[in-house]
Assembly symmetry: C2
Homo-oligomer: 138 residues x 2
């Protein structure tokens, strides 16, 4: 049961990581919240992580869309993963909680979390660490 507990800690840690700094702006009448995060890939886990993401379960993509995530990209370089996404809903934290409560998402994170570890500068309990937006042009 210890592993289950660890997985749930991961879920909440992901939520915490998701709930910080954000930039909201209007685009053609639409509200968009852009998010950028960074996390480390564990030594030797890059290929597994890439393979998983070449075949993301359709249910995960469906869930992401349900919680108003779009234009979601993950990049890799030098042991780091950078994610960029756009959120179009009205309550980011509530939607992320909905995602974390989804059983399929929990199964997915059981596979992806062991490939990752927070960057050294991440605060206690933060999984993906927020990046600060310093420039944006629509």
């Amino acid at each position: 049961m210890r592993i289950t507990k660890i997985v749930f800690v991961f879920l909440f840690v992901q939520l915490l990581g998701c709930s910080q700094s954000a930039d909201v702006h209007k685009e053609a009448g639409e509200k968009i919240l852009r998010k950028g995060w960074v996390i480390r890939v564990k030594q030797g886990k890059l290929e597994e992580y890439k393979k998983l993401h070449k075949n993301v379960w359709p249910g995960i993509l469906k869930k992401l869309r349900e919680v108003h995530v779009r234009n979601y990209t993950i990049f890799y370089r030098d042991g780091l993963l950078f994610s960029y996404l756009e959120y179009t809903g009205d309550d980011f934290n509530a939607d992320m909680k909905k995602m974390a409560a989804d059983s399929l998402t929990q199964e997915w994170w059981k596979l992806t979390n062991p490939c990752q570890e927070p960057v050294r500068s991440a605060g206690d309990g933060v999984w993906w660490a927020d990046m600060e937006e310093v420039f944006h042009m629509d």
Copy 2:
């Protein structure tokens, strides 16, 4: 004249950095090329870089749009800058050359380039280093 030469090396280095790995996909009939790059901020230069980017010259934004760049965001964390942009034109390299040939852009880069240095893993002559796209969802 040495400084002018260095600036021109920077321009071409930026172009080289821009011309590598890319992912093209169709979105509602539109062709989009997503680009993700990383570069270091020089020690003590973050505030200057941020200040510059809070007041980007309108002519620079105009030029970026002219060369079919949109949805361009730069994030910062842990001494690194991460840029994400979308290109909607038909010839990315030609458009980046057009940008680099623009005199206002050259003036702008004279201010921003001294704030940056390539990541250690960047190849010879590469300024912004390409990230590899490992996941995307529209």
